[in-house]
């Protein structure tokens, strides 16, 4: 029982990311509404960011800011005391990329709406076929 609990504790974050990613993927595959798809896309990207942040996690460690700032080099810094900063750095970039994608996607969605007066993919498709 305890073993199972340890497994769950040690893995549930990864499972969580998979669930979120699948929610996003589902929305992008199944939903017909373009804004819904864009939301799905954002969720998808966030899930991956979540995954990376989970990688960076380290037990019994603190946030990656060296608190004893500028008081000289006598306090040795030990790697085990700080959470891995690298995934955080990567994910800052990924968040910015995702907001940039979001902006472009929304701009395109507005353009689509201006053209077809609809955001539903099936309605747009039927309009295209009629033409």
């Amino acid at each position: 029982m305890v073993d199972l609990l340890t497994i769950i504790i040690s893995k549930y974050n990864y499972w969580g990311y998979i669930v979120l990613m699948m929610i996003g993927l589902y929305a992008m595959i199944v939903k017909k509404n373009l804004v819904k798809k864009i939301i799905g896309m954002s969720i998808f990207q966030t899930a991956i960011i979540f995954f990376y942040v989970s990688i960076g996690m380290k037990k019994n460690a603190t946030i990656p800011i060296i608190s004893h700032g500028h008081d000289g080099g006598e306090h040795a810094v030990h790697a085990v005391d700080f959470i891995n900063p690298l995934p955080h750095v990567l994910m800052l970039t990924a968040i910015v990329v995702s907001v940039a994608t979001l902006g472009v996607a929304l701009a395109l969605a507005i353009k689509v709406y201006q053209q077809y007066n609809s955001l539903e993919e099936d309605e747009i498709d039927s309009q295209i076929k009629v033409k």
Binding site: I23, I39, V53
Partner: protein, 81 residues
């Protein structure tokens, strides 16, 4: 870090995510997406990723939501799914 807290918030995140894609109103979906992002940023803060959490709080929960709302404002709230 307390893993129970983490789990609870993760559950919230998942619910917000499901809510955001199922609700049949795009404005509501946008707001739920904001809530999702905010919960996510909390989760990351718990995991010690303060910078990422800070960014997500300002970008995901803040600006993204505004973008969604303005896009919905310029298009339509109506959705079939």
């Amino acid at each position: 870090m307390i893993w129970q807290l983490d789990l609870i918030i993760l559950t919230f995140v998942i619910f917000c995510g499901i809510g955001a894609i199922t609700i049949k109103d795009l404005l509501g979906a946008a707001i739920l997406f904001g809530a999702y992002s905010f919960m996510m940023s909390l989760l990351w803060a718990i995991m010690g990723a303060v910078d990422v959490s800070f960014t997500e709080a300002s970008v995901g929960a803040g600006v993204s939501t505004v973008f969604f709302v303005s896009a919905v404002f310029r298009t339509t709230r109506r959705t079939k799914d």
